[in-house]
Each structure stands twice: as structure tokens, then as C-alpha cells.
């Protein structure tokens, strides 16, 4: 008698378990995505070095100082600032160049950090994609555990980043910036309303693409951006790079640079 009632109960239980398995909560799916099969579509891990404009050989002279968007659509507010910062940061006068906050070793912000000629290591763990930059050992943590932006944070140099997988693309949304950084190395400004969206995708085993968009209505009349391509460098290691090596040296010799000596 008891056994006969047990069988339907077990069938019901089995159906319930089956149903719950197919309605797995979002966080569990994202967790799985954060631990992809090595080299799989959702695996961004590796040591990545940014190629410049299709990897044409360039001399030391041709550092890339901006994202090649010289027509980035500035508002009058931004244009007025850029009129001052452009010549300052890009000029010949060491004194004005030193006014760029990176020379006081302040963080470069996003996307400016991609303009430095040092690689980035990407590591994925459950709930986070972590970018470890060789440039002054900066770390960006992109939270992939489904959390929203944290409303309790004060403004940040490198912003608050959350990421969501759309197929093989990690869509990274970064907000909550302070207004103390610049978009690039020639002084394009932004406000604390800066919103950076990046679409990160592994194109193939050796290439990574970061298709980014900058949105900041007070500074730019429309969103703009570009695609950065990175090449895998499995034989490289992340090396030490310390901002104070630049800044201390320059600051110490600021007076000396004011009067170049002729011989």
C-alpha cells in the first residue's frame, strides 16, 4: 500500500527537480560563464599587448597619444578645456607637461590606461574578470556576478565596472568616475558623468578586441569610441613598472629643465 503511493511521489519529485534544473538562477549561469573551458569562447584570459593601428612598425617617436578620433565631437565646454590641455600635455614645455596628473602618479582612468605601451593580464574567477595592468600595477575588477553598480561608492579614478556576457562578448559597463582624469594623453576632458561601455571579445586564440564607447553628454555631443585590438603574448611576463620612477625623476629635475644648456 505504502509503496504504491511512494512511486507517484517520486515521479512528482523527479519532475520538480528536472524543472528546477532548467530554471537555474542567473547567478549560477554567470558563474559558469566566469569559469569557461580554457580557450573557450568566454575565455578572455591571457597576457595581452595592444597592437597599434594594425601593427605597422613604429618608431619610438610615434607613441600613440589618443584613440585616433581627432573628430571626437566635443561640446563647447570640453573644447574650451581641450584648447588649454592639448598644448599643455602635448607640448614642448616640461613645466606644463608636468601638470598632467599622471606625472603626479594619479591613476590614468579609463580608457586612457589602454594608451600605455605595457601589457595587461586578464584573469577570470567566479564573479570577476580581473585586469592586471603592467602600467603602474593598476587593477580593474569587473564584477560578473550580476550585481548592479554600487550606489554607495564615492567617485572613483578608475570607475566602478560590472560585466555581463552576451554570447561570447563581455559587455563591461563602467560608471562612477571622478572628474580628475582625461580620456587620453593629450588632455581630452570628461566629467564625472562619464560612462564607458566596452565590448570585450576573444576574436581567436591570439587576439582580443575591445570595442569601447565613451558617453558623456556634457563633454561630447554624441557617444564615440573605437576598437582596440590586443595580441596574445604567452611568452611575456608582467614586469614591474613604477610611476614614481617617472615622476620623481621629473619633479626633482624640474628646475634643471627650465634652461636647456647648449654646448
Amino acid at each position: 500500500m505504502r509503496e504504491r503511493r511512494l512511486i507517484p511521489a517520486m515521479i512528482v519529485l523527479a519532475i520538480c527537480f528536472g524543472a528546477s534544473a532548467s530554471f537555474a538562477p542567473a547567478t549560477a549561469q554567470q558563474e559558469t560563464a566566469a569559469r569557461p573551458a580554457a580557450g573557450g569562447a568566454q575565455d578572455l584570459s591571457g597576457l595581452w599587448s595592444r597592437l597599434r593601428d594594425g601593427a605597422t612598425a613604429r618608431g619610438y617617436e610615434n607613441y600613440v597619444l589618443d584613440f585616433g578620433k581627432s573628430d571626437s565631437p566635443m561640446t563647447p565646454w570640453a573644447a574650451a578645456i581641450y584648447k588649454v590641455t592639448g598644448p599643455k600635455f602635448h607640448g614642448d614645455d616640461p613645466n606644463t607637461v608636468l601638470s598632467d596628473p599622471v606625472f603626479s602618479c594619479y591613476p590614468p582612468g579609463v580608457p586612457r590606461i589602454y594608451l600605455y605601451n605595457f601589457p595587461v593580464q586578464i584573469v577570470q574567477i567566479p564573479g570577476q574578470v580581473i585586469m592586471l595592468f603592467e602600467y603602474d600595477h593598476y587593477i580593474r575588477r569587473i564584477y560578473t556576478d550580476g550585481r548592479p553598480h554600487d550606489p554607495q561608492l564615492g567617485p572613483l579614478w578608475m570607475g566602478d565596472s560590472i560585466g555581463k556576457w552576451e554570447g561570447d562578448t563581455l559587455v563591461v559597463d563602467t560608471t562612477n568616475f571622478n572628474d580628475k582624469t582625461y580620456i587620453d594623453r593629450v588632455g581630452r576632458p570628461h566629467t564625472s558623468a562619464l560612462h564607458v561601455i566596452e565590448r570585450l571579445r576573444r576574436i581567436d586564440a591570439n587576439s582580443l578586441e575591445d570595442d569601447f564607447t565613451v558617453e558623456d553628454p556634457k563633454a561630447y555631443t554624441k557617444p564615440w569610441g573605437t576598437k582596440l585590438i590586443f595580441e596574445s603574448k604567452p611568452t611575456w611576463n608582467v614586469l614591474e613598472q613604477v610611476c614614481e620612477d617617472n615622476a620623481g625623476f621629473l619633479g626633482f629635475n624640474k628646475q634643471a629643465t627650465q634652461a636647456p644648456k647648449k654646448k
Binding site: Y63, D92, L250, P260
Partner: protein, 129 residues
């Protein structure tokens, strides 16, 4: 002794910085990129450190006068990714340096190539820079 050391250090640093070398990648170049200067000499110093690798060379002209030139290159992080390391050049090495001279006429170079006495060429630039 202390005073003389700090004076010579200051002079070296003034020479180095008068070319605005460390500002080079932040704007208009203080180096004359329209031509290359080639010098042969003896290495007096090789600093394989950030922010810029620095190579000092005693160069003797055809009149027998010896002058010290200072060449600078990229970060050792970048250079180490194409053939350089801290021992690739040593004091006393006979070397050829090719680079862009400082516009202000100082004895400074932005290095574009270094040739060792065994003929090996070192490139301070890189494809993915």
C-alpha cells in the same frame, strides 16, 4: 668629494633632461627626427632601469677630443621584449649608437639603433609599440 659627486650627477641629469627626453612621448619631440646621428665609442654607463634605459658613451672625435654622449631609449620592460637585458651592454664595450640628436644641440640622442662590437644590432623600438 660629496659635493663634486652631486655636481657631476646634477650636470649629467641636466644634460639628460635638457633634451626633454622624458617628455618626448608627451608631445612635440625635443629630438631632431629629420636626421640620424651615428657615433662610435666606449660605453661608460648603461642603466637598464625605468623609466628610460640610458646609455652613456665616450666618443672621441678625429681631433682626439673625447666627449660623453647620453642616449636614451624606451622602458626596459619594452626593450626586454626584443632582445635587450641588463647585461647586453657593459661598461667598456665598443659600440655604435644611432639616433636623433637633441634639438637644443646637447650631446643627447634618442636611440634608434645600437650595434655591438660583434655586429649584433639592438633595436629599441618594437612592432607593437
Amino acid at each position: 668629494m660629496k659635493l663634486r659627486l652631486s655636481v657631476s650627477f646634477a650636470i649629467m641629469v641636466v644634460l639628460l633632461l635638457s633634451s626633454g627626453s622624458l617628455f618626448a612621448h608627451h608631445g612635440a619631440s625635443p629630438y631632431d627626427t629629420s636626421k640620424l646621428t651615428t657615433l662610435k665609442g666606449t660605453v661608460t654607463d648603461f642603466q637598464f632601469i625605468n623609466p628610460h634605459v640610458v646609455l652613456s658613451v665616450d666618443v672621441t672625435d678625429d681631433k682626439g677630443k673625447t666627449e660623453n654622449w647620453v642616449g636614451e631609449a624606451n622602458s626596459p620592460n619594452v626593450l626586454s621584449r626584443h632582445g635587450w637585458d641588463k647585461d647586453v651592454i657593459k661598461k667598456g664595450d665598443q659600440i655604435t649608437v644611432i639616433g636623433n640628436r637633441g634639438k637644443n644641440g646637447s650631446k643627447t640622442l634618442r636611440l634608434q639603433k645600437v650595434v655591438l662590437s660583434n655586429g649584433r644590432e639592438l633595436d629599441p623600438n618594437s612592432l607593437s609599440d
